[in-house]
Amino acid sequence: MADNILEVKHLKKYFKTSRGMLHAVDDINFTLERGKTLGLVGESGCGKSTTGRVILRLLEPTDGEIIFEGKDISKLSKSEMRHMRKDMQIIFQDPFSSLDPKKTVSQIIAEPIIENKIIKGKLAREERVLELMDTVGLAERYINTYPHELDGGRRQRIGIARALAMEPKLIICDEPVSALDVSIQAQILNLLKDLQKKLGLTYIFITHDLSVVNHFSDDIAVMYLGQIVEKAPAEELFDNPVHPYTQALLSAIPIPELGHQRQRVQLKGEITSPIEPPAECRFAKRCLMCNEEVCKKTVPQLIEISPNHFVACPLKQKELGFNV
């Protein structure tokens, strides 16, 4: 049996607004094998970051189970959760606002160590900070600098060192390279990959950048308005996208090569509101293939159309001979 570090079942997160309930994350299910990377992709507002935060319970889930190493953490008390978070860390998108400007690099990295009483004694702690800085490729001379003195790439390295300080098993990377220039982006992506190999880390990699997620992930889940519309191993998803939204998303990536001709999958119309969405396919209004009879009758379910390839498009499911 596969060694699953994380299992998410029927996860929901609704926000109350003046116009009704906003369904930010709406019934998400997936399992994640230890040592692997799940890429969570989608456009702004699709609920990918909310999903990451709910899994860590930085936001309280509305409903559903989050099973981490066989234990449902969605019902744990605050203090129990605090203990749990040692194993689950997050790296944020913006290295400019996620670091305390009044603390030095060593103070920032040492904070979780002190807070969780992992290492006692100042000398031992300092040694650990230096070791972590070395792991993420930060030169020792930066130990007493402040975040504003460093560039984006180095700041992101501090964020990674801080996350690693707890020796976590799972790290949620929320757009860790989106704010960085391409040459620096590649440095950070390589670092994250090396760390995964060395420390056996499991990642959930949240991004809107499809070429990055393809490079980085084992499995990819495509989200649209709070739901997973397609999930497959990275290679399969890119070679054989089935959901019309995935197809549109992939065909929209600009490729940095000469004479690259391809058919764009066009989208139309307005985006369905995530506030009290109707019980139909949420992509239907933008989908050129939409068939009112099929797509607007019920909420589509994820069905495994081939090994490990899940799709939530009733039209395609029908085409492939599944009962919808």
Binding site: N190, S211, F238, P254, P256, R264, L267
Partner: protein, 338 residues
């Protein structure tokens, strides 16, 4: 003026921009020459701090002074010298002959005016139309960018990000400019919306014979919309030429580094080869080639003097000493591409 020169919408020679701040002089743009033919699109590529936006602002004479100091030997738009232009003349040129699309559509629009009024404003000023006629034309522009004209009476906050960027494009194109400068026009947008906006810009460019400078860090976007490419590093152009030349026969090590940093969508096993190190401090640029400290091919020679852009065939120019010293020198990307 010979015939050849007449065909250029934009000519810049030896453009220098520096910012004189309390912490020292920031050398943002260091001696740029640029030429753009009618109906052509030039992609200006480079990372944060390369001087792309500053170059564009200098063309419009929008660099704030102080602290900015702009010097150049030549700055002509459609044959007119922009350098000595009076403020009132400049106002006629901006928006009419040359207009700019800014990166962030969320802040480029005025929140207290309707989008119709904002589009009509530049039409009213430049085409000397009455308010009614200008609003009428603003409606046409909205339709052109794919927004129903009924929405002209709505305010920016009622539009999504992609729609706002379409409004910004409508404003920029309202007076049918000869030159359009687009500064990262799709960076703030989602990929599917980005694809729509790029398609729209391509269509409008053809329809109105507009020349365009596309400022971007995305080599994919350049491949999709540009005829020519100029790669900038630390305020200088290090490589330029047609899209075919720069992408197909890449010569500068920095351009190669940019390509190697991108994940390859067709080969997911390929390891990324990042450029090591960081961009140099613009207050303290190295004496020789600014890229030398990060360059895998750098020799002692590279650290001595700043290389000049040299023509290497066709329109292809490159600024790298290695080619001058060794006619057989080749970067890895060229060896692979044959």
């Amino acid at each position: 003026m010979d015939k050849n020169e007449e065909r250029d919408i934009l000519r810049i020679e030896n453009l220098n921009v520096r910012f004189e701040t309390e912490d020292g002089v920031v050398h943002a743009v260091n001696g740029i020459d640029m030429k753009l033919g009618y109906r052509k699109t030039l992609g200006l590529v480079g990372e944060t701090g390369a001087g792309k936006t500053t170059t564009a602002l200098a063309m419009l004479r929008l660099v704030p002074n102080p602290p900015g100091v702009v010097e150049c030997d030549r700055l002509e738009i459609d044959g007119q010298d922009v350098r000595g232009m009076s403020a009132s003349k400049l106002e006629q040129v901006r928006g009419k002959e040359i207009s700019m699309i800014f990166q962030d559509p969320m802040t480029a629009l005025n929140p207290v005016f309707t989008v119709g009024e904002q589009i009509a404003e530049s039409i009213e000023i430049h085409e000397h139309l009455s308010k009614e006629k200008a609003l009428e034309k603003a409606g046409d522009m909205l339709e052109l960018v794919g927004i129903p004209r009924q929405r002209a009476n709505e305010y920016p906050h009622q539009f999504s990000g992609g729609m706002k960027q379409r409004v910004v494009i409508a404003i920029a194109l309202a007076c049918n400019p000869k030159l359009l400068i687009a500064d990262e026009p799709t960076t703030a947008l989602d990929v599917t919306i980005q694809a729509q906006v790029l398609e729209l810009m391509n269509e409008l460019k053809e329809k109105y014979d507009t020349s365009m400078i596309m400022i971007t860090h995305d080599l994919g976007i350049v491949a999709e919309v540009c005829d020519d490419v100029a790669v900038m590093y630390a305020g200088r152009i290090v490589e330029q030429g047609s899209l075919e030349e720069v992408y197909g026969k890449t010569m500068h090590p920095y351009t190669e580094g940019l390509f190697n940093s991108l994940p390859n969508i067709k080969n997911r096993q390929a390891m990324l080869k990042p450029i090591h190190g960081l961009m140099p401090d613009p207050t303290n640029l190295p004496e020789g080639c600014a890229f030398a400290p990060r360059c895998n091919y750098a020799t002692e020679e590279c650290k001595k003097a700043c290389p000049a852009l040299r023509n290497v065939g066709g329109t292809h120019m490159v600024a790298c000493v290695r080619y001058e010293k060794d006619p057989n020198f080749m970067i890895d990307r060229r060896k692979q591409n044959g």
